[in-house]
């Protein structure tokens, strides 16, 4: 069994290594013909751009992606600068017609994205030519190895009961150097994905056949991300099933998040795209889905006929009716740990790191500040955007719509939710985004705290203050602080993962939905003591 496990680890590492090394492989260049073709396809009008591209990337030289990218970016910059100079020249000459004409020659877009698009066409080499084989050597080997590593646990872990043995002895789960390596890898991964997609263009080649089969187009970096997301959740979901196989709540919950991620977040949008509809994730609620009310989205929905209208109405109903009503009945868990994709990753890939959330009072204070600020930020952004959309202006109260959207997307969408939210798993715990950042969680939290039937019941006086619950609460809730006082846990941040209940050695905690009456039960004297004294002091 152990051998199989290590063999699996070996396979996984090989697949992982090939995948990582893929970035450095292959070469990039254009023939003149290919360039012409590309330029007419994109509709670039600038002669200068064409000239420069001819000089830089039409070559026999086999450029690496990094050389290629820097050349392309420089080219676009030179060309754009050239036209800008002309614009200001015409401007000073007051030659308005010329100035107006000149604008069409400028190419807008982020340099790395422009470079990604060209690289996608200009790439050559093994990963481009043999995507299927490449898939098996990377993803295939990785998944196979990981499963081989995980599945023997059915036997190795022994009896199906809570197994946290050695978590604080292992480098990977006790903030050791393995954990730091994983952190660095994840952070770099997200930085590349969000800000330098051209560097990972080779990865997208691996997924072209699958992408074509699903949506009829080649894979973008987001397709790669979506696919990896699902694959990782599945593999780590298998780990979850094995680790908590005695716990039906965990089994059902894991099945649910896997289902919603794979079907709702991945397959349905892809299929919709292939049918020329806007790809929409029907479970992704605003304000987590922060660009739902962006102009481009509203326009695209408007232009998509009945389905577009349906999505628009659904999106609004989801946020203002379905989400809060469900929270009233079941607590925020129905979304955060049963449905949501971010939660899904946290509960599968992130499970080995759940103990790292900070339980201190200061962290709780910080949490309340930050998460509510993000909520306000997202609402402000949406108000500005909608105002501008309907009034046709470009700013509200001096806040430029484009600026606030860009800032939010950059700070919250990319850095907070991605780089920090997931990248920091191995050291700071698996729910950083959900706890400190997610505006939807903040909104659900209000409902859960003030109007819900959900609570974690504390079982009278049975708590022995051991601290397992607090330690394994991914949301950094000091569960023990409540349990040892005999108080039910009613906290806006609780995502109802149920792990505190699973790890408690004394059966003290139970997640349940019940009448609102009696949900909050402050106690001064715990159950077990003199009945009169309890009455006297608790009333």
């Amino acid at each position: 069994m152990k051998t199989i496990k290590y063999l699996g680890l070996g396979f996984f590492l090989v697949g992982f290594f090939i995948f990582t090394m893929a970035i450095f492989s292959g070469y990039f260049n254009f023939t003149e013909q290919e360039l012409d073709c590309y330029i007419s396809e994109k509709g670039y009008k600038s002669e200068r751009l064409k000239e420069e591209l001819l000089k830089s990337i039409v070559t026999d030289e086999k450029l690496s992606i990094f050389e290629f990218s820097s050349k392309v970016r420089a080219t676009f910059e030179t060309s754009n600068r050239h036209h800008e100079i002309l614009i200001s020249k015409y401007n000073s000459e007051k030659n308005w017609t010329k100035k107006g004409e000149e604008f069409q020659y400028k190419v807008s877009g982020k340099p790395h994205n422009l470079s990604f698009e060209i690289a996608k066409k200009a790439g050559k080499g093994f990963f481009k030519d043999q995507p299927t084989l490449a898939w098996w050597l990377t993803l295939g080997l990785g998944i196979f190895g990981a499963l081989l590593f995980i599945l023997p646990n059915v036997i190795l872990l022994g009896k199906p009961v809570i197994k946290n043995d050695g978590i604080y002895h292992e480098s990977a789960t006790n903030r050791g150097f393995i954990a730091w390596l994983v952190l660095i890898y994840l952070v770099v991964f997200y930085l590349l994905l969000y800000f330098m997609p051209d560097y990972v263009v080779n990865w997208t080649f691996i997924f072209d056949p699958i992408s074509n089969a699903l949506n009829g187009g080649n894979a973008s970096q987001w397709f790669v991300y979506g696919f990896l997301y699902c694959a990782i959740m599945l593999v780590m979901g298998a780990r979850m099933y094995i680790k908590y196989r005695y716990n039906k709540y965990q089994i059902i919950r894991t099945t649910s998040v896997l289902f919603f991620q794979i079907v709702f977040a991945f397959l349905i949008p892809e299929i919709m795209t292939s049918l020329n509809m806007p790809g929409y994730d029907f479970k992704n609620a605003f304000p987590l889905d922060y660009d739902f009310f962006f102009e481009w989205n509203l326009k695209s929905l408007q232009n998509s006929g009945a389905i577009g209208l349906f999505i628009l109405v659904w999106g609004i109903i989801l946020t203002i009716i379905i989400v809060p009503v469900m929270v009233y009945f079941f607590g925020k868990r129905w979304y955060c740990s049963w449905v949501c994709g971010c939660g899904g990753l946290a509960e599968t890939l992130g499970d080995p790191y759940r103990q790292h959330s900070d339980k201190s009072l200061n962290a709780w204070k910080l949490e309340r500040w930050v998460i509510h600020l993000v909520l306000i930020f997202s609402i402000l952004m949406t108000v500005v955007t909608l105002h501008c959309y309907f009034s046709g202006t470009s700013s509200l109260l001096g806040i430029k719509s484009q600026w606030i959207k860009d800032t939010y997307s950059f700070l919250i969408g990319a850095w907070f939710a991605g780089v920090i939210g997931t990248g920091f798993y191995p050291i700071f715990g698996n729910r950083i985004w959900c706890r400190f950042g997610c505006p939807l969680a903040a909104y659900l939290g209000f409902v859960q705290r003030f109007k819900s039937r959900f609570r974690i019941t504390t079982n009278g006086g049975q708590c022995i203050s051991c601290g397992n619950c607090s330690t394994y609460c991914e949301q950094g809730i000091d569960v023990r602080a409540y349990a040892q006082k005999g108080e039910n846990i009613i906290r806006s941040s609780c995502v109802g993962c149920g792990i505190c209940s699973a790890v408690c050695p004394r059966g003290v905690l139970k997640l349940e939905n019940g009448p609102e009456k009696g949900r909050i039960n402050p106690t001064k004297i715990l159950l077990g003591n003199d009945v009169d004294l309890m009455k006297l002091l608790n009333d």
């Binding site: 397992n468 139970k510 077990g528």
Partner: protein, 456 residues
């Protein structure tokens, strides 16, 4: 403010376990008296019950501390590290090992327990240890860091701490021999059905369980370290590197020997937790009731008792003299993988009285079972043991207080289930068996929130 503080009564508590800390917290809630907690073990309160999880790698030591370090200062509770060697009751003064001293106006003794040692030969060798204090854990890390250093450990005494120690060592794959004096594990407390289930479960964990076995002596190697133990009954020698002494605990009160505070095994207290000396109280593991409360032992070395005594003594100290009147008995533990809860009194066959009937149910394949005891004549429900099934404390407490009949318990058993959602429940099977045995016709009622909360 400062002047005021000096005039304030000074409450000194020896021992920062659950008993002492609970007392301090409740005194602070009700007054602004000066409070000092003394401990010779660790500056900050930690949960002794969680020591095992630190060794097993579930927790770090800091996780066993229920309060953050700023808590004490913020609540104006002073913490003093030091070991009290003597109490001068005539001078209201404590003397410390480092020769310092401290005055008190009122004193609470909450010094807990220490592991029993019965004068075995070799009981003080290196590698022989109890499992009680933080230092024991450090000792264990030293002598049993892994199965390479510790080739085998022998545990002496089959109680709750013994089985925890066995579980700890097994988590590092260290071979364990478990010497249990009784004919079956903990059968002075548990009915046979349950005791035997635990026996089997111990064996499932590859623990070498030796029933009917007493320790004769511990043998030293040339370095004064454990080499082996000899079993009394068979004279068998078992080679080992670590010996865990877990044959119960007794009050940790040696430092009171030459004082005029009346002691027996523990510090003798009346129902108000007062000792024979005015203004001195004793609570927790170290307190011994002069007149034990019905069914309860004079010394109750359990977490909950320490806590309840702390809650009570705080009232008395804050001028609301309150009798210690624990409510219905409850307890819980975990035997390796099997959770155990008990409410009310279920006695083993050895200790139960004539009028007690016991209804039992056991799952055909899983480690789950229950025993419900009742009065044969009145059918009053007396208590329940559950293994592998969680039960709701409040409901059972209510049923016990209201002296419900055993039939009532079975009918409404679903209300009391506390297992996580979606778990399979067994009320139907349990009641069917009860109906067969007792020729009754009880129908299981579905869980009702209304009934569960009828009390609140």
């Amino acid at each position: 403010m400062k002047i005021n503080q000096q005039k304030m009564e000074h409450i000194v508590i020896i021992g920062n376990g659950i008993a002492g800390v609970t007392a301090a917290r409740h005194i602070r809630k009700k007054s602004d008296k000066k409070i000092t907690i003394i401990s010779g073990e660790s500056k900050y309160f930690f949960s002794r019950t969680a020591l095992m999880y630190v060794y097993m790698g579930h927790l770090k030591f800091e996780h066993t501390q229920p309060y953050e370090n700023w808590f004490w200062k913020k609540n104006n509770i002073e913490l003093k590290e030091g070991f009290v060697t003597k109490i001068e009751t005539d001078k209201n003064q404590l003397l410390f090992k480092d020769n310092s001293s401290l005055f008190y106006d009122k004193l609470i003794i909450a010094t807990g327990s220490k592991p029993n040692k019965f004068g075995w030969k070799g009981q003080d060798l290196k590698g022989v240890m109890g499992l009680y204090h933080k230092q024991d854990l450090e000792n264990l890390e030293k002598f049993a860091p892994n199965k390479g250093v510790c080739k085998r450990a022998v545990i002496v005494g089959g109680g709750l701490i013994g089985i925890e120690l066995a579980e700890m060592l097994r988590s590092r794959k260290i071979p364990v021999t478990f010497l249990v004096r009784e004919t079956s594990f903990w059968n002075s407390v548990l009915p046979t059905q349950e005791s035997e289930m635990i026996n089997r479960h111990i064996l499932e964990h590859q623990i070498d369980l030796r029933l009917n076995s007493n320790l004769k002596e511990i043998i030293s190697d040339e370095n004064g370290q454990v080499k082996s133990v000899i079993i009394e009954e068979t004279n068998e020698e078992i080679l080992c590197n670590v010996v865990g002494l877990t044959a119960g605990v007794s009050p940790n009160i040696d430092f009171l020997k030459n004082t005029n505070i009346a002691c027996n095994k523990g510090v003798l207290v009346n129902l108000y937790l007062e000792t024979n000396i005015p203004n001195i109280y004793a609570i927790g593991d170290c307190a011994e009731q002069t007149h034990p409360i019905v069914n309860r032992r004079p010394i109750e070395a359990v977490w909950y008792t320490g806590r309840m005594m702390g809650e009570t003594v705080a009232q008395t100290i804050c001028d609301k003299k309150t009798e210690y009147k624990p409510g219905n008995w409850f307890n819980s533990a975990k035997f390796l993988d099997i959770e155990y809860q008990t409410y009310g009194w279920v006695f083993s066959e050895q200790t139960k009285s004539e009028n007690e009937g016991c209804f039992q149910w056991q799952h055909p394949s899983e480690n789950k079972c229950i025993s419900i005891s009742y009065d044969k004549n009145s059918h009053e429900f007396l208590g329940i043991n559950t293994f592998g099934i969680r039960m709701r404390h409040e409901i059972f407490d209510q049923w016990l207080s209201e002296k419900k009949s055993v039939e009532h318990i079975l009918e409404f058993l679903a209300d009391a289930n506390f297992d996580p959602e979606f778990y399979k429940s067994h009320e139907a099977e349990i009641v069917t068996k009860f109906n067969q045995e007792m020729s009754t016709n009880i129908q299981v009622k579905k869980k009702s929130w209304k009934r569960i909360f009828s009390k609140v």
